[in-house]
């Protein structure tokens, strides 16, 4: 029996589509918004849409900062950050002044002003698998996903880069270290590709 996926609700981002997709692939999902529930989570999804600082402020306010770090680093609870959630896993963002969760060293930077490059990066884009992991193993051929973001991440350590993407420059579409994963795109809006990725996370042993 697979574990329940706990989706962290800190008030930023739409959880509905994520729960819908998890339900569609037959996973059990719950939404957690308090410390106790988060502490008991077997697998954690950290979604997020919006500003880095505002998100970190909410996470501190709710007392989630220490719990998330302990769960990820000490308990080795599988954790996946989505979109802003992935950026929060890193050290900090150019967008704000606050530090992130610091689980995978890296920094979020704004896409540069290059001629004809529209920001945010919005739409479907193809990704390259830099490092095969349990969650990328079953992706269909020519994987593509739906992106919408103005800031990009490049992990400090090349060994942490899981998926890469091209948009004006080369950036990380996915990062991974141990059981900590981050994806810049929205799997819940990437139909069969998103489902394959989430299924990989759901099937991870914990």
């Amino acid at each position: 029996m697979t574990a329940t996926i706990s989706i962290v609700d800190y008030g930023m981002g739409n959880i509905g589509s994520l729960t819908n997709m998890l339900r569609r692939i037959g996973a059990k999902a719950e939404v957690v918004s308090d410390i106790k529930s988060l502490t008991h989570a077997d697998k954690i999804l950290l979604p997020g849409v919006g500003a880095f600082d505002a998100a970190m402020a909410r996470i501190h306010e709710l007392g989630f900062y220490d719990v998330l770090r302990t769960k990820a680093l000490d308990d080795k609870t599988p954790l996946m950050g989505i979109c802003l959630g992935m950026q929060l896993l890193t050290s900090q963002s150019e967008e704000g002044r606050v530090t992130g969760l610091g689980l995978i060293p890296g920094k979020a930077r704004k896409f540069p002003k290059i001629d004809r490059l529209k920001v945010p990066h919005m739409g479907w884009n193809t990704v390259d698998i830099k490092k095969q992991t349990s969650i990328t193993e079953h992706l269909p051929e020519d994987p593509r996903f739906y992106f919408v973001h103005s800031y990009y991440v490049k992990a400090n350590n090349p060994a942490d880069r899981m998926l890469t993407c091209q948009y004006g420059l080369d950036f990380d579409a996915g990062i991974q270290r141990d059981k900590i994963y981050g994806v810049q795109f929205h799997p819940e809006k990437s139909h069969k590709f998103g489902m394959a990725l989430l299924r990989g996370f759901v099937d991870l042993p914990c």
Binding site: G16, N125, Y146, Q166, K189, H191
Partner: protein, 257 residues
């Protein structure tokens, strides 16, 4: 590489999907939920729903219907039609839609656009501009389902909406809509040259070549399809479909990346 967005634009009237011609009378297409399921199978990357009843009658969006649609979709969704306030937009986002499309309200209360963009981000707001050519050939901006006209300049209006916080522009040529006669490339180019945000070309797509032209010759970042995705062929019966991947790639593969 970023794919050019090819977006089925589906028109709602009451609880049904319909298709109009030149914003006039409409034909019944089918049940929205069933149609969405078909687009899911076809692995379409994005859908836009536009409720034409709300702008004709002044009614509110059918939130229950939209909820049903959102639960079926696993790709980005936009909705437009009867959104006249921040609160209405919030309800649409809570239902699971990524973007809201604003049109008629922009003429009277453009501040609504800015308010929504400030909280949800500019990428969540699509400014819709419907353009109609008068009898003498001059352009007019049409609102309320092309029932009211304004003589504002289209390019100036597009720039103003960009400044106010629109993330992209849905540019519809009223006179081409439903005709399969091809896009108004001149109109599209004038707007794409003037703004930095993506412009979605809408109204007139009849062939894959039309799609290619809108993108390569007129600078459209995305293309919305109406008749092409709900009818078998021009003048023929209803068939929910989507252009073949290979055929689409052939017209979209450009000379730059």
């Amino acid at each position: 590489m970023l794919r050019t967005r090819i977006i089925p634009a589906l028109l709602l009237h009451g609880k049904s999907l319909v298709k109009t011609e030149r914003f006039g009378k409409f034909r019944y297409i089918g049940d929205p939920a069933n149609t969405v399921r078909i687009f899911n199978e076809l692995e379409v990357d994005e859908l836009t729903f536009l409720d034409i009843k709300t702008c004709r009658t002044g009614s509110d969006p059918d939130f229950e219907l939209l909820q049903n649609i959102a639960t079926e979709c696993f790709m980005p969704l936009s909705y437009g039609g009867g959104i006249r306030s921040f609160d209405a937009a919030k309800l649409i986002f809570d239902t699971g839609f990524e973007k809201v499309t604003l049109n008629s309200i922009l003429a009277q209360k453009p501040q609504v656009l800015t308010d929504i963009a400030k909280i949800y981000g500019t990428q969540a707001v699509v400014a819709s501009i419907d353009v109609k050519r008068s009898f003498w050939g001059s352009e007019k901006i049409a609102t309320h389902g092309a029932k009211k006209m304004s003589s504002k300049d289209v390019v100036a209006w597009a720039k103003e909406l960009e400044d106010r916080g629109a993330g992209e522009i849905l540019l519809t040529a009223v006179d081409r809509e439903g005709t399969w006669d091809g896009f108004d490339l001149d109109l599209i180019k004038r707007v794409t040259d003037a703004v930095d945000i993506p412009v979605i070309a809408h109204g007139g797509a009849g062939t894959l070549e039309d799609i290619g032209e809108a993108v390569h010759h007129a600078g459209a970042s995305a293309v919305a399809l109406g008749s092409m995705v709900v009818f078998q062929k021009k003048g023929m019966g209803v068939l929910v479909n989507f252009p073949q991947e290979d055929a689409l790639n052939a017209v979209l593969t450009s000379h730059d990346t």
